[in-house]
């Protein structure tokens, strides 16, 4: 499967439609907006199901604390804002009032990662996985495409507890079909391979698949594992693939610190030490530019995954890996 040849669809549209269905069908569901309804597309709820839409204004700290209060009355608030503001502006509120008491609040981090529609570093979220996965009681999810977005939201809606879902702004190749069943704690093997395993999360998975294709042309056989759930994480599958292929590349649209790569390194260091190459944004600030330009400059495009695969394959076969 070559991701670039697949049909694409908007993750935002899928999110918007699914949330609308949940709001209409589940009396507990209320949608909280931090004045971004047109960007995140939750305006569909505002327009077509206004009694389920609560505008909280540009006040994210209050929005997340209000969500906690709503949850104590038996409701299931879905709070929606950009991932950058969700994970940093309202972090203390999320920690003290949602994560610690394990309240039933669903948090949507829209426009995560680097590709946020030329908004630049103030609006990009390259730390949200690291932040959220360090909170006890938190579930951290990142879908690869529009289908998985919907499945994941339906799962989150019936799960009792806090969930953070990291979404992307743009259109992405459709990797899953309707028969796909999302399970937290389960990774998905999208490609079999013997020389190394590329493990990716979120929308970076479509680039991981492309990289595997190119590596194959270079006689390197790469497995591709998509991890839609970073917490809980499929430890068993990660160890199994490391033992089997003896080389790992992690891929994420996130800082190389503390995200998916960090999580996998923690597991493998303790259970099955394996050479790992990390594809992610290095320790630096980004900027506003086109998606293509950002992926190149910040070294997370397909090309960089391919190079990481070649490097780890060499390391694996050297004495000093």
């Amino acid at each position: 499967m070559q991701a670039s040849q697949l049909k694409t669809a908007s993750m935002r549209d899928s999110f918007s439609e699914t949330l609308y269905q949940l709001a209409v069908n589940d009396p507990r569901v209320f949608v909280l907006d931090g004045d971004l309804a047109t960007s995140t597309k939750i305006e569909k709820v505002a327009k077509e199901c206004p009694q389920k839409f609560l505008q909280m204004g540009i006040a994210e700290q209050n929005m997340l604390s209000v969500a906690a209060g709503l949850a104590t009355t038996g409701l299931q608030p879905w709070a929606v804002t950009f991932a950058a503001f969700m994970s940093k502006r309202a972090l203390d509120q999320i920690q003290v009032q949602i994560a610690q008491p394990k309240l039933n609040v669903k948090m949507i981090g829209a426009y995560s990662g680097l590709l946020t529609g030329v908004t630049g570093k103030t609006h990009q979220a390259l730390e949200d996985i690291a932040i959220f996965r360090s909170l006890a009681n938190m579930t951290v999810l990142a879908p690869a495409d529009s289908v998985e977005t919907a499945k994941m939201m339906e799962w989150a809606n019936q799960y009792d507890g806090p969930v953070y879902i990291r979404l992307a702004r743009d259109n992405y190749p459709i990797l899953f079909d309707d028969s796909y069943v999302f399970k937290p704690n389960k990774g998905v093997v999208l490609n079999e391979g013997t020389d190394l395993t590329i493990i990716s999360t979120g929308t970076a998975t479509s680039r991981a698949l492309e990289a595997a294709k190119i590596l194959k042309q270079n006689n390197i056989s790469s497995a591709v594992v998509h991890l839609p759930s970073i917490k809980p994480i499929d430890q068993e599958l990660i160890i199994e693939m490391a033992v089997k292929t003896k080389a790992i590349v992690t891929v994420e649209e996130h800082s190389i610190y503390g995200g998916l790569g960090g999580a996998i390194a923690e597991i493998l260091a303790a259970n099955a030490p394996t050479p790992i190459e990390f594809v992610g944004v290095k320790d630096r600030n980004s900027e506003s530019a086109s998606n293509e330009a950002l992926l190149e400059k910040y070294e997370i495009s397909t090309k960089y995954i391919v190079e990481a695969g070649q490097r780890v394959n060499l390391r694996k076969n050297s004495d000093f890996n």
Partner: protein, 280 residues
């Protein structure tokens, strides 16, 4: 103080005594803020709120959120008087495995409606509870106490704005206006040292029903609660003039007693003062 409120007077005095003893015993905790809050807390739990210690999660119970969570021991002392927990358990305060955490934890102690401790957040959660009641047509009322130092947090004003936007007339916030915080502007002239000034004007301009009361007069406090119910489509704030350290002469109006631990001698002096004061 009017004798109609003898029960409240007894209860608040008992709570004052136990909080002093517990903080002394634990060698930790706050004193000044709990003492300024205790009369309002007593009025809430013994007169105003519909709550049942034996049925702490009943759906139609009124809610209380202690946004100034550092006054936890004051709340625990009142909850103990009310019967939510044994007097004996108070002495586990701040120790390992205790349900009485340094700051209130909603998951382990029935009666605590929201975990607080990071200032500025509790009031927003109270707004969420009141909003939750509105959208589900439930009749319970939500009460919340904030500090004047706490009111320096921007989030307090975010909450004030949203409560008024959604016309939460089922929400009553009490400002424990004791004019001191932890350290603040100690040493500057009194006017500048007040943690938050022009409070009536501020809350009025945010669209709230503002009632000024003496936070140590049960008559005043209860009248404030009564008047709050008469106003529709606006949240109410009771600006309660209080004294930090109220009831113990050498603790009153002294910022050092925010979280100082009394010595054995200071404790016995304090308890003696409480016993001797027929009328607090």
């Amino acid at each position: 103080m009017s004798s109609n409120n003898t029960l409240l007077e007894e209860k608040s005095k008992a709570a004052r005594k136990s909080l002093l003893k517990v903080v002394h015993h634990a060698g930790a905790g706050h004193i000044g803020g709990p003492l300024s809050a205790i009369d309002v807390l007593t009025a809430l739990y013994f007169k105003e709120m519909n709550v049942e210690p034996t049925n702490p999660y009943k759906v139609d119970r009124d809610r209380f959120v202690l946004s100034k969570g550092h006054s936890a021991i004051g709340l625990y002392a009142v909850l103990a008087e009310k019967g939510y927990l044994d007097q004996k358990e108070l002495y586990t305060f701040d120790s390992l495995d205790s349900r009485l955490q340094g700051h209130p934890d909603m998951k382990i102690l029935p009666g605590i409606e929201m975990s607080t401790g990071s200032l500025g957040q509790g009031i927003s959660a109270a707004v969420g509870m009141a909003l939750g009641a509105k959208v589900q047509d439930q009749s319970f009322r939500t009460y919340c106490m904030i500090g004047d130092g706490e009111s320096q947090e921007g989030q307090v004003w975010e909450a004030a704005f949203i409560a008024s936007k959604y016309e939460l007339d089922n929400l009553v916030v009490i400002l424990d206006y004791n004019k001191l915080q932890q350290y603040g502007w100690v040493g500057t002239n009194t006017e500048r040292a007040v943690p938050n000034d022009l409070v009536e004007e501020k809350w009025e301009s945010f669209g709230w029903n503002v009632i000024r009361i003496d936070g140590h007069s049960f008559e005043d406090i209860l009248e404030g609660f009564r008047q709050a119910k008469l106003v529709k489509q606006k949240p109410t704030i009771l600006i309660a003039d209080t004294v930090k350290g109220k009831g113990i002469s050498f603790m009153e109006n002294n910022y050092l007693w925010h979280s100082r631990i009394p010595t054995d001698e200071e404790l016995s002096l304090a308890l003696k003062e409480l016993d001797e004061s027929g009328d607090l």
